[in-house]
Point group: C2
Chain length 146, copies 2
């Protein structure tokens, strides 16, 4: 039996609760980060993230993200074994939230030193920075997918 996220049933019609049910765990946001900001799209690439997610958890979370319409799975056109995961438009729309979250962390915890250039760009132009990342993610998909 495969592992599930806690409380998979809808608890309320509140948008905060809806978000919690999608991204409210220890790994989903990190996977979204790698996909949206780092141009990662393979199982092995997500697995290689600094925080070292276990393979069973990663598989569960990718399925979870697909179920909730944040990622789509494709066959790697250049390797029959490979799978490629790409963000949907819904996930791309999450970029402003993700980057705002990062900026919040970075403001209050200066020890969060990763993504310093991105944080600087975001502070001088939040909207433009988010849109830039969105466009970059779209281009990356075009480059890799047939």
């Amino acid at each position: 039996m495969q592992s599930k996220l806690p409380s998979s049933g809808t608890r309320s019609s509140c948008p905060v609760n809806a978000a919690v049910e999608v991204i409210g765990d220890q790994w989903t946001l990190l996977i979204l980060r790698d996909m949206l900001l780092q141009e990662r799209c393979r199982f092995s690439e997500f697995r290689g993230s600094e925080e070292s997610v276990a393979t069973n958890i990663l598989a569960t979370r990718l399925k979870h993200l697909a179920t909730h319409g944040l990622i789509e799975k494709f066959k790697d056109p250049e390797d029959g074994r490979g799978a490629l995961y790409f963000p949907t438009e819904r996930a791309l729309d999450f970029i402003p939230v993700l980057v705002a979250t990062m900026a919040w962390s970075n403001t209050h915890q200066p020890e969060t030193t990763k993504y310093a250039p991105l944080m600087a760009a975001y502070r001088s132009d939040p909207h433009g920075t988010a849109e830039g990342l969105k466009e970059r993610a779209r281009q990356f998909r075009k480059k890799v997918l047939p």
Copy 2:
């Protein structure tokens, strides 16, 4: 022994990871919502939220939020039994992230019908709406605390 949040140790210096370690569970964001948007500050008020958090979980999360500098605990000046929880400035700075998250949910899941007026206000003036909520939270604290 009291229950803990998963992975209490710092896994990386990434701001996304830092956020996950603070808000990456099924309840913390809901408590922040009630505190920042609903003027709730008592244990029983948080407990009464629609999603029905258990008392042990709520106690754990309130402690967790205090540890991470998002809330402060006070004695109720009008009832020796009571405790009052209020957001720190760090928590108030989270309001824009929280409201952006809600807007994202609301855009892609129209069944999230709660907070419709807030969502409408946010769409027409994101920054002003967030600042308004921040000021409201500050005023509420002044009103209730000595």
